[in-house]
Subunit: 191 residues, 2 copies
DNA sequence: ATTGACAATGAATATATATTCATTTAATAT
DNA sequence: ATATTAAATGAATATATATTCATTGTCAAT
């Protein structure tokens, strides 16, 4: 008996993300995904019932990766808040730059007709650690006393834009860049 | 002789943007655009040769609107830099919140298979005013001496995120919000 | 080495959606 | 009023793309 290739799902996911980076969500065709993954178009249907299922599974998988990483990189509570926040900043920036296409796929998929009802209710725990650190910083009067939504806009907005330019090679993700962007972020947030 | 309805193009553009907000770029169907604009699907083809042409025209039109607005709102050079910058911030935030869906359409369209070669070379003068003000601020040692790309990431990233939350009604675009987000932005940028 | 079971293939088919066009409707000129 | 012309319509058609399935290839057990 021939067994299912355990690498095929990953290969299909990667092909889909690579293609997405080139042609966007509206340009994704099953035949092209298959070509990109070097398999026949029919093979995809051994692993996924439909295009919709494939995209929803890819979305859930990407989201889980992201949440897993965030929870793994939580830093020792003994260190000063600024140090811990910088560690999160650095990890976040590296991760988002490295996984740029996955993240953009997730964002666009969220408001596409492909997303199914059960995927919509899928968890989102990824911002909790940053939420916590912002609350702590506000309580100890280190950070500005503004709504978390606003503070997160600054952090996440900067992160998104910087990672975009890194990914497109207009900026290089050096230690210097991490430091100066963190400085911008911190100066904005601090009371 | 019956004349072409001068409002139809605008109606089709608006319908397309509204639909885009609901279903994303991949969900746009000519029949649905027609329904949204309360016309027959064939009517669209009196005004546009094809779906591709329609989307490219919409993109160019949106981009021109944005550039026109930016150039109109340039502020008196006599005022202090911080005042001028705040005026740009306020206008930018209001405009992007108001025209949120247009802006997101533009961003996603740029990397879709619909964009044609001649649309790609279409001008982009919109960031020039902010560029100039950043340079001036750095020369007079008011702002941090960092690459404009980095500074713009902060300004534009915050703008994008805040307008997203305003548009989705999680934040309300009050004077207070404009002031506190500008404060974040300014604290980040100032030397 | 042979066989059974399922994975893989890709041309054929089904389906979704863009586009056309015969017909109807409405505005303007005479 | 009537004729003329082009816009508007939407069912019919063409086209693009998702999905199926008959066939072939490959692995693992005997």
């Amino acid at each position: 008996m021939k067994e299912k290739d355990p690498n095929k799902v990953k290969a299909i996911f990667e092909a889909t993300i690579n293609l997405f980076a080139k042609v966007g969500l509206s340009g994704l065709k099953m035949s092209e995904i298959a070509k990109e993954a070097s398999i026949a178009s029919g093979t995809i249907y051994i692993y996924f019932d439909s295009k919709e299922k494939l995209l929803n599974e890819l979305y859930k998988d990407s989201k889980q990766n992201w949440e897993k990483l965030i929870s793994e990189r939580l830093v020792n509570k003994q260190l000063p808040l600024k140090t811990r926040f910088k560690a999160i900043w650095e990890e976040g920036l590296k991760f988002r730059t490295f996984e740029y296409n996955k993240m953009v796929f997730m964002e666009q998929f969220t408001n596409s007709p492909f997303i199914s009802e059960d995927t919509k209710v899928f968890s989102n725990k990824s911002i909790q650690p940053i939420y916590n650190i912002l609350n702590e910083g506000k309580e100890s009067l280190i950070l500005k006393d503004l709504d978390n939504t606003i503070l997160l806009c600054l952090v996440y907005g900067l992160l998104k834009e910087i990672s975009f330019y890194c990914q497109s090679d207009n900026l290089k993700l050096t230690k210097e860049l991490i430091d100066s962007t963190f400085l911008l972020c911190w100066d904005a947030l601090k009371a």
